[in-house]
């Protein structure tokens, strides 16, 4: 494993998480302001851009590495997104939800590793 992989995997993960946060923020404010609102549009565009960065980085990683190596890192996105949603979007995160997200992440890592 070389340094490119060590750099690209976290970048892909961060791009995925930010993408989901932007899409969530955009769709949430669209419920109140409609789709013509400038902030709603820019949130959705940033979301799509971040998701595209993740899409191409994942394709690039898959071109050189096994799926069983790349996919477990995507599994970590569940717990990271839950924590990020609590911090950035001020969603309420109780012990139960955190434990649930942790178990799902761990399970996905196990499922995709084998």
């Amino acid at each position: 494993m070389n340094w490119i992989v060590i750099v690209l995997i976290p970048i892909a993960l961060v791009a995925f998480v930010t993408g989901q946060l932007f899409l969530k923020r955009g769709m949430e404010s669209s419920a109140e302001k409609g789709f013509r609102d400038a902030r709603v549009i820019s949130f959705l565009i940033y979301g799509v851009l971040s998701m595209s960065v993740n899409f191409f980085l994942t394709l690039g990683l898959l071109a050189h590495l096994d799926l069983s190596f790349v996919y477990p890192f995507q599994g970590l996105s569940v717990i990271i997104i839950s924590i990020a949603a609590a911090i950035v979007l001020r969603e309420k995160l109780n012990f139960r939800l955190t434990l649930g997200a942790l178990l799902i992440s761990a399970g996905i890592v196990l499922v995709s590793m084998s």
Binding site: S30, A85, M113
Partner: protein
């Protein structure tokens, strides 16, 4: 004062949860089913057409001949749109973990439909995800009561 009242009324209306087929939980289920089916269709379509050209099959070009792959693309669009709809109503920290039920459904259907093997380690992972989903589904039910 009046403007304030109007905006809060609009916000309250916006947060009203649609019922029937527009119910966000139902749409979340639709999203999961679309993802599950398109993954299986992609797998079938891609492996059926892999023998057409040794070189082009590696970049997915030969798969475009398969109608299954085109159906998969259609389902991909439907799943993306339904996910955006879900995000409008359900908190991300509940919707995203629940949407990962596909990570259990895909290996199970590969086992049932495509006859692939599941290793003991993978069974353990599936069990962990199911317990995690059950823990996440309980707050989701509470949220529903509040709405």
């Amino acid at each position: 004062m009046r403007v304030n009242h109007q905006t809060s009324a609009r916000a309250a209306r916006a947060l009203e949860r649609p019922s029937g087929f527009a119910n966000p939980w139902l749409v979340l289920g639709l999203e999961v089913i679309c993802v599950l089916i398109y993954e299986l269709l992609q797998k079938r379509g891609a492996s059926e057409t892999a023998s057409l050209s040794q070189t082009w099959s590696w970049v997915g070009i030969t798969a475009l001949i398969s109608p299954l792959v085109w159906l998969a693309m259609l389902l991909m669009i439907v799943s993306l749109l339904s996910w955006l709809y879900v995000l409008r109503y359900i908190p991300l920290s509940i919707a995203f973990p629940l949407s990962r039920v596909v990570d259990v459904l895909i290996p199970l259907s590969c086992w049932l439909v495509l006859g692939e093997n599941i290793s003991p380690r993978r069974w353990c992972g599936i069990a962990l995800v199911i317990v995690g989903l059950m823990l996440t589904a309980k707050p989701a039910a509470h949220l529903e009561e509040k709405l």
